[in-house]
Symmetry: C2
Subunit: 356 residues, 2 copies
């Protein structure tokens, strides 16, 4: 948990009798109440949280246009270390679920957050996680409306695990459906690949590069809305987190029963990320991203979608990296820089454990 | 994890290369896909889960009557042991969130589930947890539509932690609001107190009683619907989980700024639960319940609500245990069996760690 690069927030005054999390903070009594009040309610500050009911009650009718649908998603976050260049488990927990919702074309509305704390966690670290979640939620325009806190004994957790669930509204008419994928469709990447995973690995392995590798953790629903405005018939969106682009492209090929061909020279990878991958023997296609998406779009809409993406910060480096083909159904094949081809297999297991 | 009283389910055949959870099961690749397919999709079997998108998309408009609202809640579950008399972490994870929704008067609609697995967990145990969740979801009439699985190293978890989040529909006209609580209102308990917590403790402490203590884990939304039909102006509902009835009553007294007086002789406690509390030096008012609720109802509706509760299995033993008073605001006071009075304080910390 020691991370000299960050200025730790200190324990709020009312909690100074217990500057580290104790089992009693999970007991549902006065200690739990104190922690919730001075860490979570202070950071998230939402009238629905303040009502302290067992459930938050929302009037969604006003937010749900006729024909609109709800998107629902959840993600557990166990990233190690808790704080890393460009982010922390806090903004990852918000952006991870926001982006899962965004991949269905949804505008995120509310999040819930379940915390599993390890006895001994400095309360100041929990404050930093909560502040990071609050900042990420503000940036994404989403409310954190319900939560829960449990505490486990030392050696039964690892500081803090956060599970978020999210609800979003899918606007009427949006129907992203892989069943529409056809040979000739274009594969777009919204930016450079591998930044998040290599930011984590460079911290864990103590690698020093000329420039620090920064996690790409950002919310993507604004980018998705712009893409859908440019081309309402986008076939599919995936955010390539664990398993990287290789896993996401293989899933798409399998789901749609098509082949996918990508061009190695077109795949955007930052030089320090490429160098770190080289040193650690990792393939950037297998490395996790937390602020990137892959899109399958009809050929006739590709130029308009790319132009719309590039107008936004989250899509500034967007490029076409390949296309859908009738040949080799369910296989992802890469044309390498020297003109050869190789299969990009579905990763089997865990290249980088606890990356998100 | 050893529990000779239960017949363990074995590892599904396609997973027999890895009969215990490995880090790769959390990697987002082929191993994750295998685990999700043969454990979670098999157990939960829902077309929305089968679509394998990043988010589940629901047409809630049909489920949301004009004037209806959405209730949203989440609960993390870290109970130890995973399996205990009357239940498991699986049905607790479903009923816990279903009951949080029910306390706002909502009918539960869908759940999400985030799993944090410890490397080395027998896959057969995970199958049992998933089957228990599926059975509890069927019993509660709720769908599990989205999920996520992460794996942490040995010694960074404890078998399995499950965080569920839920969405429910609050029917139009239902507005359970503690602001309406008035002196003279009646405090009802839906049944015996302390069963869940003492079921867990008797297993952990190896206590043997003449009759086994069974967890009371059940869904309560049917009971709540019947209560609201009998008296639409119910002021408040709470399910007394961690911290027990003492924490729930103190929260109500504080929220509403009223006093609460309860009568010790009227508080229903099963004899083996009372005996176990005696042996362990615990107060049944502080022990967790997972299938009980406390209600504050206007005096004129109390008889009708009690009658409605007693018609259902979940409310068969329902009784009035006290009333709201103008005296001693924010304090809960108990009239003891010998006619004395004592304050029932808000519990401070953790009497029984990891009870849910």
């Amino acid at each position: 948990m020691a991370d000299p690069d960050f200025t730790g927030l200190s324990c709020p005054a009312p909690l100074r009798d217990h500057p580290q999390v104790v089992l009693g903070h999970g007991g549902g009594g006065a200690l739990t109440h104190e922690l919730v009040t001075h860490v979570f309610r202070r950071a998230f500050s939402d009238p629905l949280l303040d009502s302290l009911g067992d459930a938050a009650v929302l009037d969604v009718a006003a937010q749900l246009p006729p024909g609109g649908q709800l998107a629902v998603s959840t993600d557990s976050h166990v990233v190690r270390p808790l704080f890393f260049p460009g982010g922390s488990i806090g903004d990852l927990a918000v952006n991870g679920t926001v982006n899962d919702l965004a991949m269905s074309g949804a505008r995120p509305l509310v999040l819930t957050a379940g915390f599993i704390l390890e006895e001994g966690l400095p309360v100041g670290d929990l404050v930093r996680v909560a502040e990071a979640m609050a900042a990420a939620a503000r940036a994404a325009g989403v409310r954190i409306v319900a939560g829960d806190t449990k505490v486990v004994e030392r050696g039964r957790g690892d500081g803090v695990y956060v599970t978020t669930a999210g609800i979003g509204v899918v606007p009427p008419g949006v129907a992203i459906d892989p069943a529409g994928i056809r040979p000739g469709d274009v594969v777009l990447a919204s930016g450079t690949l591998g930044d998040h995973g290599m930011a984590i690995m460079s911290v864990r392995e103590g690698l020093a590069f000329e420039s620090t590798i920064i996690s790409d953790s950002v919310p993507l629903h604004g980018l998705v809305a712009a893409m859908l405005a440019a081309c309402p018939t986008i076939r599919m969106l995936r955010d390539p987190t664990r398993g990287g682009a290789a896993a996401a492209l293989n899933e798409i090929a399998t789901l749609a029963g098509v082949g996918i061909e990508i061009d190695e020279r077109s795949i955007p990878v930052r030089p320090p990320v490429a160098a770190a991958c080289e040193i650690l023997g990792l393939d950037p296609l297998l490395v996790a991203n937390e602020g990137k998406l892959l899109a399958i779009v009809p050929a006739e809409g590709a130029a308009a979608v790319l132009a719309a993406m590039r107008r936004l910060a989250q899509g500034r480096d967007a490029v076409a990296i390949g296309r859908v083909v009738a040949a080799h159904p369910r296989l992802v094949v890469m044309r390498t820089a020297i003109g050869a081809t190789r299969v990009v297999p579905m990763p089997i297991g865990e290249q980088l454990p606890r990356i998100c």
